[in-house]
């Protein structure tokens, strides 16, 4: 039991040394190292919410087309318009990432 605790504490101490490691360029621009991480999180959140919204749009339009096949043309038009407008919201986030990171978000 004591040996296990000792092993666990040793592992935690070893793992904590990673908190002190920084990317080599961090001395020049200490805030810049967070840009790729926040870009990744921001884009993931935007894409996730966009996916949810588009799923809702597609689901209700498919149900509408199933209930009323005669109106399928009008429903398809509304569906496409809605999908494109929702997509463009996720793309605004992408544009901010591109503008904020000079075109290559994986380089801090």
């Amino acid at each position: 039991m004591t040996k296990k605790m000792f092993l666990l504490v040793a592992l935690v101490l070893l793992a904590s040394t990673m908190a002190f490691a920084q990317t080599p360029g961090a001395a020049a621009n200490p805030a810049g190292q967070w840009v790729p991480i926040s870009a990744g999180f921001g884009m993931a959140i935007a894409s996730g919410l966009c996916g949810l919204a588009q799923a809702k749009a597609v689901a209700s339009s498919a149900e509408g087309m199933a209930r009323n096949p005669g109106a399928a043309g009008a429903i398809r038009f509304a569906l496409l318009l809605g999908l494109v407008l929702i997509e463009s919201l996720a793309l605004y986030t992408l544009v901010i990432i591109i503008l904020g990171t000079g075109g290559r978000p994986w380089i801090p």
Partner: protein, 243 residues
């Protein structure tokens, strides 16, 4: 992020640098060593291609024995006319010149990027901005022409004069957001489509990028259609008569 030159841009910069610098000086900018940018050259090429295509079509228009080209463009024209009548109303086909140009120009500019040695001009923010500013000016000018300047500005105030102090800033900002959203939508879709294809080209060198190029072609068509559709909706909102 300086893009490398395409082969046609290299030809333009080697032989026509003088013409490029003259155009730059016309708008008050300083002359540069290699004035032609990729997107300017490809835009001009696409415009030239469209002019030549329609010149050939004009020659081959025939009333009793229509050829394949005429059939294709009849389908396109019927589509444009149907859409503009549906969106703008009875006077819609009056504006087909602008909507049709927008649709065909943006469609060809988007699709030219798929050909290996060329690059979509709509991949740079400048080109969609130009189309969006043209649309903004067009629908405002059409609104003023149809309704008169006073009545056009008065409809910014909303349905009741009591709501005017609230409605005017909201309408103003939403009208300014229209060219911004048109630009960003087209630019981001084209840029992201190309980047995704490039990333997958780097990851899996074979067949998988073709799937993304196919998706990019579909998105190109859809984005050109959406740009035209939104332009139609803005014109419809501007020229609407309150009976």
């Amino acid at each position: 992020m300086h893009e490398p030159e395409l082969w046609i841009t290299k030809i333009f910069n080697d032989y026509l640098a003088g013409a490029g610098n003259a155009a730059l000086q016309l708008v008050g900018m300083k002359p540069e060593a290699r004035p032609w940018a990729n997107y300017v050259v490809v835009e001009l090429l696409v415009a030239l291609f469209i002019v030549v295509l329609f010149a050939i079509l004009r020659q081959r228009l025939c009333w009793d024995k229509p050829g394949k080209l005429q059939h294709t463009f009849e389908v396109v024209y019927e589509f444009l006319r149907g859409q503009s009548e549906e969106q703008v109303g009875h006077n819609g086909p009056h504006h087909i010149a602008f909507f049709g140009t927008l649709f065909i120009f943006i469609l060809f500019m988007n699709l030219v990027g798929i050909i290996p040695a060329f690059e979509s001009p709509t991949m740079t923010p400048a080109v969609p901005l130009g189309c969006a500013v043209a649309t903004f000016l067009y629908y405002n000018i059409m609104g003023v022409k149809t309704n008169g300047l006073g009545k056009y500005l008065a409809h910014f105030a909303g349905p009741m004069p009591l709501l005017a102090p609230l409605m005017i800033p909201i309408e103003f900002i939403s009208h300014l957001a229209r060219p911004l959203s048109l630009t960003v939508r087209l630019y981001a879709n084209m840029f992201a489509g190309e980047q995704v294809t490039m990333v997958f080209l780097g990851l899996t060198y074979f067949l998988v990028p073709v799937v993304f190029m196919g998706l990019h072609m579909f998105v190109s068509l859809l984005q050109a259609y959406i740009f035209m559709l939104l332009a139609m909706m803005y014109v419809a909102g501007a020229v609407a008569h309150e009976h």
